[in-house]
């Protein structure tokens, strides 16, 4: 790789190290594994940088795509690959459950509860929610990163959001009980 490419790779890619680590850490739930994945991601990106086109979204979605593939490959190697939920199953599951909206809570002070609820999601839902949580990503960018149609992103997001909201409901109930007791 030419020296100028090397410099521009560093300039473009390194500012995203922290984000990549955070996503990797939340995917793997393991410090060292997350670091390894980030390192592998950067090596792969560095080697493929000559083929990278800036396009409209910049380098971040490209790096996240490599990171996600690296994570999935590792999971497959370790025979821990998540069982994919096919579309039919997903639709059936949705049909069985009513659609709900987020409970009334003080979300400014719920970071830890939301984080735990997210960490409890299945890998494919957790991945889409983590990408959604990096709020500068559009649905189309998430679809590009995951290499799935945008409709799949929307249905996974819907399902993941519903799981997240359900996971927060016990906390909302607890809060309401506390409020009622304090009023008594």
């Amino acid at each position: 790789m030419a020296k100028t490419d090397e410099n521009s790779f560093e300039e473009l890619a390194l500012p995203h190290v922290d984000l990549l680590y955070r996503v990797a850490r939340r995917l793997t739930r393991h410090d060292h594994e997350a670091e390894d994945i980030v390192q592998e991601t950067f090596f792969k990106a560095y080697r493929a940088f000559g083929r990278f086109e800036m396009r409209e979204f910049g380098i971040r979605p490209w790096l996240l795509k490599i990171l996600n593939n690296t994570f999935l490959n590792r999971q497959a190697r370790e025979k821990k690959a998540p069982k994919s939920t096919d579309h039919v199953t997903l639709e059936q599951t949705q049909a069985d459950e009513s659609v709900i909206s987020p409970p009334e809570l003080d979300y400014d002070h719920l970071d830890e509860e939301v984080k735990q609820a997210l960490d409890g999601l299945k890998t494919e839902f957790r991945t889409v929610m983590l990408l959604w949580a990096t709020s500068e990503l559009s649905y189309q960018e998430i679809a590009d990163i995951l290499d799935v149609p945008i409709g799949t992103v929307m249905s996974r997001l819907h399902r993941a959001r519903q799981n997240l909201v359900r996971a927060l409901e016990p906390y909302a109930r607890e809060q309401r009980i506390v409020q009622v007791k304090s009023q008594e």
Binding site: N7, Y21, Q39, E40, Y107, M129, L130, S135, E136
Partner: protein, 276 residues
């Protein structure tokens, strides 16, 4: 609209992702139904909480430096060998490589004339009042909507400044006009509620910038908790600092350097904006 459709549409609207043909219907619903409006706010709050959870995930100290050292070692044709970054001996080795290779990095910062930023401050914020993101048209513009609007277009993570502690400023517009060709910039300008002629421009540059005047690097100055480089063009003072691998600049024709430093010290980089 069924309940399921309603929740999904409100969630998509909160994300700024609702199909354009449905936006009008949802906005009419929001006008007449306070519970729908509250639901949109809860979806946004949930996403913000999820984002904070991600942003607060601690990153190991020195990760970027170690990675940089490994990348440079690899580019020296020493074959990529996957090793655990956390190993103590590697940290020492990485530090040694870093000491040799990293420090010249400062020279790679892009030199930009302070006058370029001052010109954008005068032209975009005062004369043309550029508003590429149509923030002014947004009905009941709030912080989250403005931020989402900008982030839909800008191809880098744009930590917009929180000016809450800087006085009664609101976001009046934003554009991507750059003082040099190819420089990835977002220019957001804030207007004072009580004095509409008092405007402060904030530039977020997706790379490190070396602020210059007539080709010479501008001088540094210290604030309460940041180090700045200060430049001047006519009556416009420009202040630059680098944080998280990006450069941030303030430009203002009303404030002298000391006042601008005091203001910059109060600026927090956050995913929020001080909306109108």
């Amino acid at each position: 609209m069924s309940d399921a459709n309603r929740h999904e549409r409100l969630a998509a609207y909160a994300d700024g992702e609702l199909a354009p043909e449905l936006v009008r219907d949802v906005e009419q619903l929001l006008d007449r139904d306070a519970s729908a409006k509250a639901e949109v706010e809860r979806w946004q709050a949930l996403r913000a909480a999820a984002q904070r959870g991600l942003d607060n995930e601690p990153v190991p100290a020195g990760l970027e430096s170690r990675l940089l050292a490994r990348l440079r070692a690899q580019s020296g044709h020493r074959g990529p060998r996957l090793i655990r970054l956390g190993a103590p001996w590697l940290a020492v080795a990485a530090a040694l490589i870093l000491a040799v290779t990293y420090w010249p990095q400062g020279a790679q910062a892009t030199a930009v004339e302070a006058g370029g930023f001052a010109k954008i401050y005068r032209a975009c914020a005062h004369q043309h009042r550029h508003d590429d993101f149509r923030l002014r048209e947004m009905k009941e513009m709030n912080c989250a909507k403005a931020l989402a609007q900008i982030r839909k277009t800008v191809p880098f993570k744009c930590d917009l400044p929180d000016m809450t502690a800087c006085g009664k400023f609101y976001v009046d517009g934003a554009c991507v006009c750059a003082p040099a060709e190819g420089l990835p910039v977002v220019h957001v300008y804030f207007r004072n509620r009580e004095d509409p002629q008092h405007v402060v421009s904030v530039f977020i540059v997706d790379r490190c910038v070396k602020l210059c005047a007539n080709g010479e690097q501008c001088g540094g100055c210290c604030g309460g908790h940041r180090k700045y480089v200060a430049g001047k063009d006519g009556d416009v003072n420009v202040l630059c600092w680098t944080e998280k691998g990006r450069s941030y600049l303030l430009a203002c024709g009303r404030l002298d350097r000391h006042q601008l430093v005091a203001m910059a010290d109060n600026v927090k980089l956050a995913a929020t904006m001080n909306g109108k």
